[in-house]
Each structure stands twice: as structure tokens, then as C-alpha cells.
């Protein structure tokens, strides 16, 4: 079966997940993003690539940063952007989702940026478009359930490459709530594809998926042990809103064991960088002194996120 993200020429048709995305496409996205970083410094912060195209931001789940950066990225490419914040009940998912899509297609949509609480929703839309012969319409996954958040994974890779250049010499640690994190899944897929020799996941047993080792990572249940000698520390947000039942004691206790403090960070390499996909819970998974410290690259991540999303949308728009 053809990779559902690629068209018959092997080019990017939709961006749904980084899992299984060929390395050369991943690298091309990062290479394409580089010249976009400079657009923000121009008198006219716009490029004409998506002029006359309509991009619909379909957000079935709240997100300020992701929606805003997608919106800025699309607007800097001269697209017309329509933001739809759709609050959905779980019962109304399946059919009504595709009905929504059909209606927006009738308004001549060219691209959907989809955020949904249900894993697989963007894939469902992509398949629906393919089944109905609408190959000129593209889907970008802006985060679905616990499944994937590919543009976040890509901007993280861009950030790592910016600060560390060569992926093949790095030890990277992903710390925290991997179980509920679509970001972590996208990060692991991308890091592995790009040839990072050692990817570690660090977290309590209750917040790591069962058989997480099968993703090709080393598992640590002791944060100090796991951080030793790493080049990159990728913190995850503790996802209170995704937790049903008591997987954790209290946030205070979590911070004591799993919070990134200056003292724990000192175990990593002296030039290690600290990343966080946001929004941060200061004093829960990360100490303010670290979040605002010299090793943090959390705000550059946000800036690079715009360039990476521009790269993805411009590549899709021409395929």
C-alpha cells in the first residue's frame, strides 16, 4: 500500500505523521524551512507562494500557539486563512467531521490544518478526500489525540539541527508524560529517522506507554541516571487534562522527582540544550530558573515553528 501521505510521484500530499515519513522528505522540509526564517526581517513579511489559496484551520481542540503559528505561517505565504474553532462532543465525531469537511470543500478550501482530540481524525479526512477524488486538497495534522503532532516534531528537529548540527552524534532525552504525548511520538519517530544513535525516554512507569522500548528508545525510570551526558533535553508537558484516574501523586511530588531543575540539568553535557513544546507548567515539569536559563531554547522553538510550518504548507501547496 502506498504511504497515504505521499502522492503517486512520492511527493508530500498530506502531513499526517512523521512515523514512516522517508528521511529525504524530512530533510527536505528542514532545508526548505531555513530560508523562510529570514522573511520575518523584511519590510514586507510575505511571500507569494500560496497567493489565492484558502487555508482552513480546523481546530476541534483548543490550542493558541499552534493555531497562531499556523495562521502566521499561512499568512506569510499570502494564503487566505479561515479559523474555525469547533467544539465537538465525542458523540458527534465520525460523520459530522466529514460533513464539516465536505461543506468547507464546497467553499473551495485548498488546505486543512486539523487539530482533533481523536487520534486518526486527520487521516480520516485525508482518506475521505482521496476516496472522493479531491487530490488537490491537502491536510496537515496539527495534533491528533495521543497519536501525532508532526509539525511540532519537525520544528523540534529544526531546533536541534540549528544548535547541534549533526544528528548522528547526539544523545537525546525525552522526559515526562510520554503516555499522553503525541509530541513525544512524533519526536521519537523523527529522531530515529534522522539517525540519532541514542534516544532516551525518562519518566515514571505510569506515564510511559507499555513496550515503549519497541520504538527504539532506552527507558529510564531514574531521571538523574537518564540525564547523564545527554546533548538535548526535551521536556514534555504534564497533561492534566488528558488524565483519567490517579496516575500521579501531586504536582508538587511530581516536580520533586521529575521536574527539571538546575541541579538535575547539571548532569547533562555542559552545552546541552533544553526544549519544551509549551505550554509550560512552571514548577511542575520544569523549574523557572531552567526555563528562563541560558540553556533553554524554548522561544527559538516557537520562532522556528513558523518557518517549518511555512515549509510544509509551501511544499504541499505545489504538490
Amino acid at each position: 500500500m502506498r504511504n497515504p501521505q505521499l502522492n503517486k510521484h512520492g511527493e508530500l500530499q498530506h502531513l499526517l505523521t512523521l512515523d514512516g515519513l522517508p528521511r529525504d522528505i524530512l530533510t527536505t522540509i528542514l532545508d526548505t524551512a531555513a530560508p523562510f526564517t529570514e522573511v520575518a526581517e523584511r519590510e514586507v513579511k510575505k511571500l507569494p507562494l500560496l497567493r489565492g489559496k484558502s487555508v482552513f484551520n480546523l481546530f476541534f481542540e483548543n490550542s493558541t500557539r499552534t493555531r497562531t503559528t499556523f495562521e502566521i505561517a499561512a499568512k506569510r505565504l499570502s494564503a487566505d486563512v479561515v479559523n474555525l474553532n469547533i467544539n465537538t462532543s465525542s458523540a458527534a465525531k465520525g460523520e459530522s467531521l466529514l460533513d464539516t469537511v465536505d461543506n468547507l470543500c464546497a467553499m473551495q478550501a485548498d488546505m486543512f490544518v486539523v487539530r482533533h482530540a481523536a487520534s486518526g481524525a486527520p487521516m480520516l479526512i485525508a482518506q475521505h478526500l482521496q476516496n472522493t477524488g479531491r487530490d488537490h486538497i491537502h491536510v496537515v495534522n496539527a495534533g491528533d489525540g495521543r497519536h501525532a503532532h508532526p509539525t511540532q516534531g519537525l520544528l523540534d528537529m529544526y531546533t536541534i539541527r540549528h544548535f547541534k548540527q549533526d544528528f548522528t552524534k547526539l544523545t537525546v532525552a525525552i522526559v515526562g508524560d510520554v503516555l499522553h504525548s503525541r509530541v513525544a511520538r512524533s519526536q521519537i519517530a523523527a529522531l530515529t529517522t534522522l539517525g540519532v544513535p541514542e534516544v532516551r525516554v525518562i519518566g515514571p512507569k505510569t506515564l510511559l506507554p507499555t513496550a515503549v522500548e519497541k520504538l527504539g528508545v532506552r527507558v529510564f525510570h531514574d531521571m538523574r541516571e537518564g540525564l547523564k551526558g545527554v546533548d538535548v533535553v526535551m521536556m514534555l508537558r504534564l497533561q492534566n487534562e488528558r488524565m483519567n484516574g490517579a496516575l500521579l501523586p501531586t504536582p508538587q511530588e511530581y516536580y520533586k522527582i521529575w521536574g527539571l531543575t538546575a541541579e538535575k540539568l547539571a548532569l547533562a553535557k555542559p552545552d546541552a540544550i533544553v526544549m519544551h513544546p509549551g505550554p509550560m507548567n512552571r514548577g511542575v515539569e520544569i523549574d523557572s530558573a531552567v526555563a528562563d536559563g541560558a540553556q533553554a531554547v524554548i522561544l527559538p522553538q516557537v520562532t522556528f515553528g513558523i518557518a517549518v510550518r511555512m515549509a510544509v504548507m509551501s511544499m504541499l501547496g505545489s504538490n
Binding site: T28, E38, L47, S318
Partner: protein
């Protein structure tokens, strides 16, 4: 067909431009051949404004059909475009579409006082109302569409013009 020597043409082009250079003249090279040429002219003419570079990938009119080419380079305009006399530099002038794209991009950085075009070779085949103020060599008969004429740069920096036939 006789392919002229790029080094000789480069010096001739510099001499064409020289009488018109003012203290605030700025050069912008179009990636990649045009930028190599612009680097040479910048040195030969002793231009004071830092050299600019444009990659027109994001402004091409065939983006919709051809997409982005492999690896777009950074556009960098390190001087204030507003009010500056700018000379756009490219290796070969053909349809004029690259020049059109470069003009559009340049104007997104500001309003130049004037823009001139300098090219090593005019190969004919124009599809837009664009001409070069400075041109070192014009191919009288033009070239068939399947032939590509472009500047090459050797490791030592020597410039040559290369003619290849496409598929």
C-alpha cells in the same frame, strides 16, 4: 556555437558599469551564477554597500506547476533598499521571468531609487518586457529551448560559461 570566455566578459561588464557607479550603488546577485558574478563585480568596482543575494524560488511564476526546487537558498539584503540605486546581477538573461521574480522580491524589502540589470550574456528568447542596461555579450541567433547556458565556478574560483543540452 562559440562560447565566449566568462572571465573576459566579466571584466568587460565591470567596465560598462563603472562610469555609472555612485557612492550609494548597491549590487544584488541572483542565486547561484548571478551571485558569483556579483561577488566579482563587487570587488572589481569597489562597491561600498554590502553585497545582496536573492534566491527567487519563492517568487517563481511556475511554482504552481513545478513546486519548489531542491534547496532554496537564503535571500539576504544587508543594505537599506529604500532610496538606493540597485544593480541586479544575473549570469544569463533568457525569458526575463527570473528577473521579474527578483524585482518582486527586491520590492518586498523597500522602494529602491532605481533598478538596473547587469548580465554576462543575453541569450534571447524573452517572454517579458525586460532588458539589461549592462550586457557583456549578446547571442545574435539565440539558443534553442532545450539548451541550458549557465555560469560555472571552479574550486579555484575561475568562472566559465557552460552549454548543455537537456534530455
Amino acid at each position: 556555437m562559440h562560447i565566449p570566455d566568462a572571465e573576459t566578459l566579466c571584466r568587460q561588464l565591470a567596465e560598462q558599469i563603472r562610469p555609472h557607479v555612485t557612492p550609494d550603488t548597491a549590487l544584488v546577485g541572483i542565486h547561484t551564477g548571478g551571485l558569483w558574478l556579483a561577488e566579482r563585480l563587487h570587488a572589481l568596482l569597489g562597491i561600498r554597500e554590502p553585497l545582496g543575494a536573492i534566491d527567487v524560488s519563492f517568487y517563481r511564476d511556475d511554482y504552481g506547476s513545478k513546486g519548489l526546487h531542491a534547496k532554496p537558498q537564503k535571500t539576504e539584503i544587508p543594505f537599506n533598499v529604500d532610496g538606493s540605486p540597485v544593480i541586479l546581477v544575473d549570469d544569463v538573461l533568457y525569458t526575463g521571468r527570473t528577473t521579474r521574480a527578483a524585482l518582486n522580491e527586491l520590492f518586498d524589502f523597500g522602494r529602491p531609487a532605481r533598478v538596473d540589470l547587469a548580465v554576462l550574456v543575453d541569450r534571447g528568447g524573452r517572454e517579458l518586457p525586460i532588458g539589461a542596461r549592462y550586457c557583456a555579450h549578446t547571442l545574435a541567433e539565440g539558443l534553442p529551448a532545450n539548451q541550458v547556458l549557465e555560469l560555472q565556478r571552479a574550486d579555484g574560483g575561475a568562472l566559465t560559461l557552460q552549454l548543455t543540452t537537456r534530455g
